[in-house]
């Protein structure tokens, strides 16, 4: 059962894999992926890869408006809890 910290690390790993030039120290929960330079396709793929790592399956549009990575972590964590 993944903790929020573990989920954050998964998202961070996926983000750094897609954006090899990103300074890892800049990837913090308060930041948004868009601000860090991830385009819409990159953002979708970070989410899809994270879903796969956590064995979650849900339609992407259910994520709604997320302002930063913390929001994404919280959403994934809630879904893990209710599995």
């Amino acid at each position: 059962m993944s903790s929020k910290a573990e989920i954050f690390e998964i998202i961070k790993t996926n983000l750094l894999e897609l954006l090899p030039d990103l300074d890892p120290t800049k990837v913090v929960p308060e930041e948004s992926m868009k601000n860090l330079g991830a385009n819409s396709i990159d953002r979708a793929d970070v989410i899809i890869q994270t879903m796969e790592t956590l064995s979650l399956k849900f339609p992407l549009h259910e994520l709604g408006k997320l302002t930063n990575i913390q929001g994404l972590v919280d959403d994934f964590h809630a879904r893990c809890m209710s599995k």
């Binding site: 396709i41 990159d42 793929d45 899809i48 890869q49 796969e52």
Partner: protein
Amino acid sequence: MPDRVIVTGMGVINAIAEDVPSFSNALQAGQCGITSDGPSNDHPNYDGLGICARIPEFVFTERLAKLNLSDDIVLRARRAAARQPRSVQVSLLTALEAWNSAGMSAANYSPDDISIILAGHNISPADQFSTFQKYQEQPEYISARYALQFLDTNHIGVISEVLGLQGEGFSLGAASASGNMGILQAHRQISLGVSKVCVLVAAMADLSPVEVQAFRQTGAMGGKRFCDEPEQACRPFDEDREGFIYGQGAACMILESAELASARDAPHWGEIAAAAACLDANRLSDPSVEGETRAMRKALVQAGINPSDVDYINAHATSSVLGDQVEIDALGETFGSELSKIWINASKGLFGHCLYASGLVEAAASLIQMKECFLHPNRNLNRPISSSCQFVGHESQEVLCKVALSNAFGFGGINTAVVLRR
């Protein structure tokens, strides 16, 4: 007055080369890049590529570092190509080598003076094959980027972003004649003044085991008799040939207006003196003496030369039982008694049939040989099917060639011929 078109930069990656200098060395040595990935590929459940000429595994960032590019371009290349399919990384690396060697970063062209043509279609069935397998198991996890990357035009997007190209851009298809067709369209663009420079890239054919199996089913693919000696399997123009051998390869040529290239004192590989194409009105894979002859004659007329002016022919010759014979007959029709004075070799014997890219990889091989005054060997030509042709033997030949003809013929009756001149 249409402008003349010259080649100012080149890049190549294939089974025997990671760049133009290594390609030149490999051609000179008659090196063969054809290997086997396992036991007999006749087994019905065999799921590999079998005997073919593979591009060896590489690390994209390491290859980038070797090319001596500006930090700015390296950064853009890493950002654009880090998560791209292998075929895209290969295309980009050849484009970067060509761009660099042509001195394009220092040239004064504005971004929309430069066009890009990507020669090749159905470029990566290998990616579709692995994505489809994932789709069958877990459709929810299909990547979003696949929606961009399954398109052949993705190569255009990536390369134009890295090099900052804003002229015309499109991909084109002519089966195994795509490389030559790319030369034809680039030549047309520049001589008509539509572009001042064209970055012509021919993409590798990244096949899946499905296409390879289908080729085997047609009987057109070789590698049965010589399954234990892969380097013997590709034997263009030889009595013991039994079919083509699939090769992975890509190339880039920077084609430029001769006048503008001269004004900026650009490097000079040679001139595209002519490029011609014609169809057979035939949907099948069988070649036509009449169609091939017509394409070659068209090219010679366009270049304003006689058959006797040609020093060297880089044949299409795939090691196909029918195809090689048809090409010999067509060469006979086109050149008559002049044929015995013209040197001929078949590059596919060294690095296999690069399919869409073959025309451009072999035109690059031709320009390299013309510049360095040698012709590569026909390594497996032991019993030639014609005694009236002057084939290069088992060793490299020192020859000065000023005019060359390079052929490429594709399934569906597509015939093309390019005349190169130094």
